[in-house]
Assembly symmetry: none
Homo-oligomer: 254 residues x 2
């Protein structure tokens, strides 16, 4: 049987409260051939209840990476998918679980990816969703949306497994593209952009968050390579130097 | 939204040992729009752990039918599907979860159907499988097949929900995307960008054409909308004003 690799995919649980859900997620992953579990500030871990519910997937728990923050969890990932139960008015691209599975498979060809699951009660914060290029939505009944964390992981893992099983090779020749830059490089760029834009007075106070979110969506769609990030940051540096140089020159001419 | 009815479908758990699994199954069902839970000789039921894991799906538990034998559970069903993790040598028709979901939807048009899930450790007996017209198989990784009962119910319920949704054209709200800006607007933006970058001294003479080409490729991939082009040009204008303002202020202070 031919099965495409899901190796480069991290399943990231952000601040899970119930250790049983961590165990259930590990089992759901293993049964569908996923291996990399990353836990951001789990409330209890390791924990006997996690181990009990892993039931045969203890190896996934043993090799799970525990991180103090999301930055560490996403280091080296070039594409981040975030699961979200709620409809978001902001214009994130949204894929269904099934669509996302196919997209993730394709993205794994360019390097590591992450799939984020939020807290049991409150999900992912807007700041965390800002780190995601794509939101993943699991269709549910109208009257009741509350999918348990372990079961949300199960549905996505199942879809990923099926997507990986697709036998036929990609039908079109891949466009030769440089690899997208990893998440931390994009964060560096966004931080730099925001800082320069603050200096310029481009942001009116209330608009800053909303504008940065729009700019993120715009650049995320382009998925800049490392070279391109370097060019963009070079531009920001030169713009700053420009403003500063004019300043300096004038002062020199005093 | 058009959704075909799953009303006539019974989810039958045969001799479940762990009440937590009954609760998880109820939640998995409700979140995917299934309502009829039937329990054949549950070890513990009702049970506080079942209630805890149902978490919002207590109504499914409250209306669950508890039966002393499988005959009672299947009464009035014209088609019975049985889930099975193992490969069976006997020649039952086997459908994958996805195929079965479509078949069950079609069968519901002719009357009530049942979907059987076996015991946590041992599944369904051969005598119970004899009651099934179709076996349902959830594809798993080669190395580890052991899907938890609640998660098996979740996967099937999810597939049934999607199958029921099939009639309605798009499965999720389409991503709200603004129309890409027309070519002349993009040209206006590129011209503006080039002019500002010239001022900053970002271009070394030979690199200008090549760099502008790279920047075009990058922004073309994102296909900015008119609004986004306006934001980008606003940034360029503010950057210029920033440089000039510093200049001015210094001159004013002369």
């Amino acid at each position: 049987m031919i099965r495409r690799s899901l190796q480069g995919l991290r399943v990231v649980l952000v601040e899970p409260s119930h250790p049983g859900n961590i165990g259930a997620a590990a089992r759901a992953m293993k049964v569908m051939g996923l291996r990399q579990l990353v836990l951001v500030k789990p409330r209890f871990f390791p924990d006997p209840e996690a181990t009990a519910l892993a039931s045969g997937a203890e190896d996934i728990l043993a090799s799970a990476q525990v991180c103090a923050d999301l930055d560490t969890a996403l280091q080296g990932c070039h594409k981040v998918y975030g699961t979200s139960a709620r409809d978001r008015r902001i214009h994130w691209p949204v894929s269904t679980a099934r669509e996302a599975a196919g997209e993730i498979l394709a993205d794994l060809g360019n390097g590591d990816c992450a799939l984020l699951f939020g807290r049991e009660r409150t999900g992912l914060t807007n700041a965390e969703l800002d780190r995601c290029q794509v939101l993943v939505h699991i269709p549910t009944a109208e009257e009741y949306h509350s999918l348990n964390l372990g079961q949300a992981v199960q549905v996505l893992a199942y879809e990923l497994h099926l997507a990986a099983l697709v036998l036929r090779p990609p039908q079109t020749a891949p466009v030769v593209r440089e690899k997208p830059a990893p998440a931390e490089e994009m964060e560096g760029f966004y931080g730099h952009l925001q800082q320069v834009l603050r200096c310029t007075g481009f942001f009116q106070p209330v608009r800053e968050t909303r504008l940065m979110r729009r700019l993120r969506r715009l650049f995320d769609r382009a998925a800049p390579s490392q070279n391109e990030v370097n060019i963009l940051r070079g531009m920001l540096t030169e713009m700053t130097r420009w403003a500063t140089k004019v300043d300096k020159k004038d002062q020199d001419s005093l």
